[in-house]
Amino acid sequence: MNNRYYGRLIFELSKSGRTSYSLPANEFKSNSLDKLPSALVRKSKTILPEVDELTVVRHYTNMSNNNFGVDTGFYPLGSCTMKYNPKINDEISALPQFTALHPLQPAYTVQGALEVYYNVQQSLAEIAGMSEFTLNPYAGAHGELTGLMTIKTYHERRGDTKRTKIIVPNSAHGTNPASAAVCGFEIVEVKSTADGTVDVADLKPLLNDEIAGMMMTNPNTLGIFEKEIPEIAALVHACGGLMYYDGANLNPMLGVCRPGDMGFDVMHINLHKTFSTPHGGGGPGSGPVGVRKGLEQYLPVPHVKKDADGHFFVDFGNNALGSISQFFGNFAVVLRAYAYLLTLGKENIKMVGPLSVLNANYVKEQLKSHYLLPIQGLCKHEFVFDGLLDKSTGVTTLDVAKRLLDYGFHAPTIYFPLLFHEAMMIEPTENESKDTLDEFIATLKTVAEEAISDPDMVKSAPHSTPVRRLDDVKAVKEPHFTFKDYLQ
């Protein structure tokens, strides 16, 4: 990354007569396109540019220089688990023996690919304490939706159709209630206690025979372990509901504690968080869904299985739930996660949780002198400050976040969870060294001091990024959604 503003669009580099492709000569020359009835043919010209190959390469390279990734620097974006993305994984996912496979090839020609699927399903089941996984969901939110569909199918197949409600804590990720709504559930919100955990007293009266299940993440979005989880699971199970585990915060549990053992029945895992696949600017991810014993038949199809002779096959099964993806999900992402699992092995996977928790507590303890820590005590992989300790300066969490960019750090997740007005959610991951964390701690202390000595400078940050603070309101009031909007 550099700090020189680039800012050009590919359409502005276009010059009539330039080209950047080459194709074989046409051996058929049947002019089949010209024979299409004119009513079926595109009439309008396209906006696509005419550019040479070097122009394309420089353009996107220059754009990348205005972008910040995990490989650029520390990326403590809470709840997103921005861990290191090992490079060997990318090479494995690009092997032609995998990338060339058509998803509708017969099973006997794709035994290697199906074995990848099968083994990852099995490995995730072991790590999560579940019985069976599907790798079809494309993302975390897609996994949530699939998991909720699984829960609803379970109730429907038992003939229990009055369970129309899902309980969601008010500290949950926004995707939890949104996924439940897409799945056709009503959402019942349960409150949090002062220490940020689910309020069991508030939960009890919500439980009845209309409850299909409850969604939780543990540790929760504040990084606090929900100690009452055995009691919560018992209460929800007693009313006939199922427990859903949002795997967004699975990382700190690796090596220590499994969602299946906590009493969860259905869950998803974000391979792009816990299992190191690159976030790619927002995707593609992968959100495998697991279930406990007895619920396997409610997972979506197709499902990869192994027969008695050790051959892998694709099962379209009982079709209880149906399909949630056109083919088998994001296979190339699953390949990367498998490479990660094999690279770490059982000896190192178990260290991921403890080291991520150590890093988070290390940062938290040293910064609570300058930032407001609303909940004391041990955190897990992440924690939340409620802005600066000194509230007299007028410097907000947004200002602190923007100032961090000037120092070469990505900002934490800000204004989430909604329980605090000035939330700053910090997640360091196990891959960060003490040296990096020390620099980050020192920088955040400096920013806290700048907030007192020169608040205007902090409030107008960033100052040394490719562009300065952006006008979000203008983007809505004077909308430009495509380049054509600039031409009018």
Binding site: M1, L23, N26, S32, P37, L40, R42, S44, T46, L48, P49, E50, V57, Y60, S64, N67, G69, D90, I92, Q97, F98, T99, L101, P103, Q105, T109, V110, Q111, A113, I127, A141, E144, M149, G174, T175, A178, A181, F225, P230, C257, H279, G282, G283, S325, Q326, L342, T343, G345, E347, P354, L358, N361, L378, T413, K434, L470, D471, P479, F481, T482
Partner: protein, 442 residues
């Protein structure tokens, strides 16, 4: 305990534990009830070196048989120019996340803006979102959008010529989202438009889903359909593979309200089904009903043009259960992938790709008919994909061709004596001739 992904030295561990106020790594979990802890190692393989990992996957890869591909049915074997993987593997793009901090994410925001511009233009629509997962889920999102826009009507019509793999996903979403799906019958391989008009007549339809080209590869004629939909206050939704948009009448030109489909045909490798990228384009009037991320232009404090995530009041992190969709992430890197592809190919290149594919498909079509083992499924126009009826045992043919490293089309799901063939610019005349001669002798 030194390990390549863990930078903690013994001295670091000691210092950090002390600073964190605990005396051991185990003590960091004192808040976790003991009966919930695992107290054992995972039952997983031991760690492998990089050499061993590479060897492992190379061995596993040998158990796959890459085939010369004449299959389509939603995934097409188009060529990927070398430039693309070189750019998409740049770690500034690859290892970043959703561009929450716009000041250090202009690269991501700018290519999404370019993507939106290109896809809206390809489909002939006004706006595009910043990507869905695949064609099937994009179509499912489109029917939810149509129902949301229609307020009280919850019925959606779907043509029976839609790819069954897309239909399966749409059915799943419809069931849970309480949308009533009604199929429009297939007549001679295309949508029965008379039945569509009859079904619209009831006045209770929120949306209509039509494929172009359809599952069998046929380019359907939707003249008058948009007017019929709009007269019934239903939204017209078209599902089209992205590459064909460069040469076929666009959803916008047909008068469609929402265009969805898969961007995979824009050079994305087959990769056994993913990752691909769904697209969704629509009119400005429907933007507030649209799911997913949208990037918009604005200016920075110095007045320079720059880009941000915008129209966020539709989304789950703000609206929670009232959001237009639960979509959170997007297929950003695949946006970049197809954006570079479209930039490289341009209008001329995309036309040439379609021409080569279509000419090759027509050649294969005619040669197969000459063998006497196939008959026409339909006489309607097609592009790069077509369906033939055959007297051959399709499963035996599949095996025979696979033994010769060829994937000879896909058995049509709804007609088990039919095969759907697809040809791309990657297939040479020699490869097509080999396929035909294997069928002749088989």
């Amino acid at each position: 305990m030194a390990y390549k992904y863990f930078p903690h030295t013994e001295a670091d561990l000691k210092d950090m534990l002390r600073a964190a106020g605990v005396d051991s790594l185990e003590a960091l979990y004192d808040d976790v009830p003991d009966q919930l802890k695992m107290h054992r190692d995972y039952n997983l393989p031991s760690a492998m070196s990089e050499i061993e990992v590479r060897r492992f996957f190379e061995e596993l890869g040998k158990r796959n048989q890459p085939l010369t591909c004449f299959a389509g049915a939603g995934a097409y074997d188009h060529y990927t120019p070398a430039v693309i993987s070189c750019i998409t593997s740049r770690s500034e793009f690859l290892t970043s996340y959703t561009p929450y901090q716009a000041e250090i994410s202009q690269g991501t925001l700018q290519y999404i803006f370019e993507y939106q511009t290109m896809m809206a233009d390809m489909t002939g629509m006004e706006i595009s979102n910043a990507s869905m997962y695949d064609s099937a889920t994009a179509t499912a999102e489109a029917i939810m959008m149509a129902v949301a826009a229609a307020k009280k009507r919850r019925k959606v019509l779907v043509s029976a010529t839609v790819n069954p793999a897309v239909l399966r996903v749409v059915r799943t979403y419809a069931h849970f989202h309480k949308i009533e799906l009604v199929m429009i019958a297939e007549k001679d391989g295309i949508t029965d438009l008379d039945e569509l008009r009859t079904l619209l007549g009831a006045g209770d339809v929120a949306g209509v889903v039509l494929p172009q080209p359809n599952y069998y590869g046929i380019v359907e004629d939707f003249t008058g359909v948009a007017d019929a939909c709009h007269a019934a206050k239903a939204l017209m939704i078209m599902n089209c593979p992205a590459s064909t948009l460069a040469v076929l009448r666009t959803p916008g030109e047909w008068g469609a309200d929402i265009a969805v489909g898969d961007g995979q045909s824009l050079g994305i490798p087959l990769s056994f089904g993913g990752p691909y990228i769904g697209y969704m384009c629509t009119s400005k009037a429907l933007i507030r009903k649209m799911p997913g991320r949208i990037v918009g232009g604005t200016t920075d404090a110095d007045g320079r043009r720059a880009f941000v995530l915008t129209m966020q009041a539709r989304e789950q992190h703000i609206r929670r259960e009232k959001a237009t969709s639960n979509i959170c992430s997007n297929q950003s890197l695949m946006c970049l992938f197809v954006t570079i592809y479209m930039a490289l190919m341009g209008e001329k290149g995309l036309r040439e790709v379609n021409e080569l594919s279509s000419d090759g498909a027509h050649y294969l079509h005619d040669e197969l008919l000459k063998t006497g083992k196939f008959t026409e499924f339909s006489s309607k126009p097609f592009l790069n994909e077509f369906t033939l009826r055959t007297s051959l045992n399709i499963d035996a043919l599949e095996k025979h061709l696979a033994q010769n490293d060829i994937l000879g089309g896909v058995k049509a799901e709804s007609h088990d004596d039919c095969i759907i063939f697809a040809v791309t610019e990657k297939r040479s005349k020699a490869e097509i001739d080999k396929l035909v001669s294997l069928i002749k002798e088989g």
